[in-house]
Symmetry: C2
Subunit: 462 residues, 2 copies
């Protein structure tokens, strides 16, 4: 099982471990180290496990969700690629080790040399998931798996929550572009990965420059009310025209003018007077957007500005977007609701040990029962391409047979011996993949209303 | 106004600027730079403003919230200290500048030399706020103020949302300790600052090691179900006793044992048999916590373990905490609800220009009106210490007179000429300050139910 996978690997053997482990010389800068993004109890459990020998037991941990949030019909897996990167960066610097003064010397020495050397299989990013889908299957020693719990869940829960909410908005927008502009309404770094998750789900662009820089997402923007307001005359009276004229001079006639600072009708009139009928677009950020967009469309058309687009923003969520489907909206700008998961800011995924030294294990306490054993996910699909059910088998089982249906394997290799498998899909590929998966849902599966999951999850072979 | 404030300052004059600005040689490492945590439109507005000269107009921007989330009675200001740090770290590296290829050379040169040189006044961290409280007042050129919008709001909205939710939980817990353990249910770095905001609000400890390391918050933890489950016998049958025995051997009899993996009654019996009556605590993470804690307390007392504490967790929010007030709970562990703001994951704060070259400005579009002019906040307080109302005056106004009431100034200096003022309160001091402020609310102001804000905000002098 264990092989030298990169040229920077060195091979060492730990006491009591049944297989040699591969570790790499730590070369992660302190700022990128993810090792303290961890709950204290993971390291105190590690210490006790090193003392009693259970640290070296071969375990399987599983990431899954017992339910979909807010009775939605499906979830979208987000964060997988970020998890693999975070595990790669899970190394302890000397300064970090010094801060762990509640641990004994043996435990700190274990952490000093720590590199995850196990394997991860799971649902690819952009895959749909349902209750009890085995989203990630993490295999390795108890020690190396247990300490990754928090960082794995933080990333999967945050990114999947955003991707799951965003996908519903993309469906509601029915082909019209959506710009993510919610950075200001969430933690400054959560904003960056929220942009990424929204793009994964089919958003068109982001306002966030770090997300554009880091992930290659198209960046987009219009102007703020402060832009219009800073253009006062010497006597302090407003001068919207000066603001529009200046914006066009610098950014070109393709730009989008914010027309609702004072009076929308006058704003539109001024915009077209200044820009001419080839103005790129106008943005409306307040009021009854249905009524306003119909009025503004008529006004623009009357002024000959038939190609000037109407961009709307102002606390839009999937329901408001759907409510505007019959109105002349060209582009949606979505902020707060997407970065906060539209009522479900976390995905409720958990990370549970399901197998110890080949034995299935599970807790039995009320309402939080789970099924023991490593698992693999499959989806049965009609010839028409419509998905019928989610099937979960033991990890090593053969492909299940479901009548004459196609059964597609959802669990794919993600990490082997601590190294991410090569050629994982890019963000853009995962985005295309999700778009294709959404089409495979039974038609009621895309409804925004609360109901049962679109697919039932069936356990086979347990 | 402008002076050399640190030994690393150099003085330069920009074209068209009415006052010389102080900038410091950029020495912020790339990983700490906050400059791309910005919406694209801020930099395109900057470009247009540099072109038309408005970049150099003296402006006042204000952070405020039009409403309290979820009809709560008060909000808690969180994030102020982090905002000041983020502004200090708002510098552009060459690599970042290269990524901004949509900007012209003049704009990039402006950013290359950028250091905020303005002033910030506002509510201190841990202060209560109400609708339209002037939480931060940011003064400087349009250029230097407008580009800080996103990063200021991200931090204030995230931290204030958590602090506001957490304070209600602390009130509900009525003096009993609460451990923050929600890292796994939010973005991996949002988790760190959520710990900080929860501690500010009165939480006792955190599970998050990075928060402990970075902010000096006490770290705490128990054990996971995986700890019990990894202790299987050779035949795969569970051995809870082995898990408890090992935990006590390594972590001492003071430790907290998780007793609900299989059967709580047997778990408690095993725990006391192994640990003796001086066991630190037991944790229950599932089931009806009211019934269970009463049963477990009786069982512990019957076994002579009168000092063994009962720790409860399992999707607790402020309402569940309050519902357990009559039950024998010693410590609450709170996760998802606190890190997601308990139904309000953002604080709905906005950042608006309110003054340009001495003229008050405000947008007038429907439902999002605001009051122009820089502002200062005050609170009128009875001799008994009970707050009566929030008063907002123009920034330069004298202290308002409200009958014989004490009027306390809420707006304090935070940054001068781009440099954070010395001796700002520590996190621990802000935590104590908030605790004192909560006591000053009218008694119905601490109620958990939805209603009007506890204090009315009155504008005087506009």
């Amino acid at each position: 099982m264990s092989i030298l996978v990169t040229v920077t690997c060195i091979k060492v053997a730990y006491v009591n471990t049944s297989k040699p482990e591969t570790i790499r010389t730590p070369s992660v800068p302190k700022e990128r180290s993810t090792s303290l993004l961890t709950d204290k109890y993971e390291l105190t459990m590690l210490e006790a496990a090193l003392a009693d020998g259970t640290a070296h037991r071969q375990c399987t941990f599983e990431v899954f969700a017992r339910r979909l949030q807010n009775e939605r019909r499906y979830g979208v897996v987000g964060g997988t690629a970020r998890v693999l990167r975070a595990i790669d960066d899970y190394v302890f610097t000397e300064e970090q080790l010094e801060s762990l003064d509640f641990l004994n010397a043996e435990t700190r020495e274990y952490l000093r040399n720590f590199r995850f050397s196990g394997s991860i299989d799971g649902y690819r990013e952009g895959e749909l998931y349902f209750p009890n889908s085995p989203i990630l299957t993490v295999r390795g020693t108890f020690a190396e798996c247990v300490i990754l719990e928090t960082v794995i869940l933080s990333i999967m829960n945050a990114d999947s929550a955003i991707a799951s909410a965003a996908a519903r908005m993309v469906t509601a927008a029915d082909g019209r572009p959506i710009i993510e502009m919610g950075s200001r309404r969430t933690h400054e770094y959560a904003a960056v990965t929220a942009s990424r998750a929204a793009y994964l789900a089919g958003f068109t662009a982001t306002s966030n420059l770090e997300a554009a820089h880091r992930y290659g997402i198209p960046a987009s923007g219009t102007a703020a009310h402060s832009w219009t307001l800073v253009h006062v005359n010497d006597d302090g009276t407003p001068n919207e025209e000066a603001a529009f004229r200046s914006q066009i001079e610098t950014l070109g006639v393709d730009t989008i003018l914010l027309v609702d600072t004072f009076d929308i009708e006058k704003g539109v009139e001024t915009a077209i007077r200044v820009a001419g009928p080839n103005l790129g677009g106008v943005r409306i950020d307040s009021g009854d957007l249905g009524i306003l967009t119909r009025r503004v469309r008529k006004q623009l058309d009357d002024l000959g500005a038939h190609n000037t687009k109407i961009v709307v923003s102002s606390d839009l969520d999937e329901f408001a977007i759907a409510g505007l489907r019959g109105d002349p909206v060209d582009i949606y700008g979505v902020g707060t609701s997407v970065v906060t998961g539209s009522g479900a800011p976390t995905a409720a995924m958990v990370y549970k040990v399901v197998e110890v030294d080949g034995h299935p294990v599970a807790k039995r306490s009320s309402s939080k029962q789970s099924t023991g054993g490593g698992k693999r996910g499959w989806r049965a699909i009609r010839a028409s391409g419509t998905a019928v059910e989610e099937i979960v088998t033991p990890f090593d089982a053969e492909k299940p047979v479901v009548g004459s249906l196609e059964v597609r394997e959802l669990t794919v290799p993600l990490m082997r011996n601590g190294t991410t498998v090569p050629d994982l899909p890019t963000l853009s590929e995962s985005r295309d993949y999700l778009a294709a998966q959404l089409v495979s849902l039974p038609w009621e599966g895309l409804a925004l209303s609360r109901n049962e999951p679109a697919l039932n999850t069936r356990f086979v072979g347990f």
